[in-house]
């Protein structure tokens, strides 16, 4: 077989594989009428194969989470020490270990963690340490739902992976609160958001054009200047939404940037390996008619 037929055969294989993979990628559920808007792009620095997180943005995003969101939304799967992992908001390149990072120790100390007295067994609250999880605002899921009109605020630990196009979705949602469209029957305790999933057809008069989006139990949580950033960035709603979306995207998968960087090395190795092996293959098969 000549090089041309080799390559043709390989191309056919790759096309077929790509077709199958493309099918898998495209196999999203069908969209019903009146579907939510496609999320707006937050222009995030971490998108793409070479993207990285902006540490300043992550620090601002953490502040927004801690001061605004954490009063209702838990991040049960996050520990304070994770904030000091390489690529994280408070990583310092001289730290002995993430748990010894000075910023993380200070941040953890600000949190009050429920524990028991080591001698009497009585429940008490103590200062947090880096090894502790983020404290949950509610003692249990039932209390969370009861305090929020029956709908518990979802945990945000992996929220960027739990929604399609997560970071952009979170950014869009937080900036997507708009005036209630004409004729939309509001349900009590609900707010209208352009980017929320749902079907508003039952809540519009017969025959009227159904607006995109759906009802969300959370009222608009952000207002200008709500948080004072330490780096003096202007805390507009747009800025805070971007920052907290970036922070949540990092928290959902703290190792993603390291993984992409390792991936680059692996791909280079694999291409070289493929080249060497192909040459070996040709050498072995040289002159053999097949």
């Amino acid at each position: 077989m000549t090089l041309q037929t080799n390559i043709r055969a390989m191309k056919k294989t790759l096309v077929l594989i790509a077709a199958v993979a493309g099918l898998g990628l495209a196999a999203q559920p069908a969209l019903a009428a009146g579907e939510k808007h496609t999320p707006r792009s937050g222009g995030f620095s971490f998108e793409g194969p070479f993207g990285t997180f902006d540490q300043g943005q992550l620090q601002r995003g953490y502040k927004v989470y801690r001061e605004v969101c954490a009063s209702c939304h838990s991040m049960d799967l996050m520990h304070f020490r994770t904030l000091a992992e390489p690529g994280g908001p408070f990583y310092e390149s001289g730290q002995a270990s993430p748990a010894e990072n000075r910023f993380v120790k200070a941040l953890a100390k600000e949190a009050q963690i429920g524990d028991i007295d080591t001698e009497t067994g009585e429940p008490l609250m103590r200062d947090g340490t880096p090894a502790d999880r983020f404290p949950n605002p509610y003692p249990n899921p039932t209390a969370a739902a009861a305090a929020n009109g029956g709908a518990a605020p979802p945990d945000l630990s992996v929220m960027a992976k739990a929604r399609h196009d997560g970071a952009n979705y979170i950014y869009s949602l937080l900036t997507g609160y708009a005036a209630v469209p004409q004729g939309l029957q509001m349900r009590p305790g609900q707010n209208y958001n352009k980017y929320m999933s749902g079907d508003l057809t039952p809540f519009m008069p017969e025959g009227a054009e159904v607006p995109p989006g759906g009802f969300i139990a959370m009222a608009n949580p952000l207002s200008t200047g709500q948080v004072t950033y330490d780096d003096e960035t202007v805390a507009s709603v747009d800025q805070m939404a971007k920052d907290v979306a970036a922070y949540i995207a990092w928290a959902s998968d703290p190792k993603q940037v390291q993984r992409k960087q390792a991936g680059l090395g692996v791909m280079i190795f694999l291409f070289l390996f493929a080249g060497i092996t192909y040459l070996s293959y040709r050498r072995i098969w040289k002159g053999v008619a097949h």
Binding site: E85, P98, V266, F269, S280, R283, V288, A289
Partner: protein, 180 residues
Amino acid sequence: MAESVETENGEGGDASRRDFIHIAAGAAAVGAGAMLVWPLINSMNPAADTLALASIEFDMSKVQEGQQVVIKWQGKPVFVRYRTPREIQEAVVAPMSALKDPQADGDRIKAGHQQYLVLLGNCTHLGCIPTFGAGDFGGWFCPCHGSHYDTSGRIRKGPAPTNLVVPEYAYLSDTRIKIG
């Protein structure tokens, strides 16, 4: 090993095993294998949450004179003992020749805090937890195979080979230590 293959132009079937390109491909394959296996093995090393619990702090004022408190650190018991002056004296004057594992008492405490002993609570023989205050030397006695430790935690009699281990610890203040 390969049979010679009939080909149309009579060459190429018996590719030389020593061709550089084959060695290179083989080496790359070994490299790839190592790159695949290493993360699997490394994943069994202690994870980040295990490493984070590597240090704990303890308030010494919880220990009464002549008593000990047992705390758990890295899954093991730690004895924190407040020695009486008599116990300290016994530990200091003991001759090195009487010790199976010679070590001065001064090397087993922190300067200025010689009343406190911080020791790993596992017998150095096979790991049982010695009982406080028992045995012939006033320190500890291990009930499993009869090892006697003195008031500095050093082995005096019995099958244990070495003294009770002093873990890495430091005083953060007069009443607070950090272990690990």
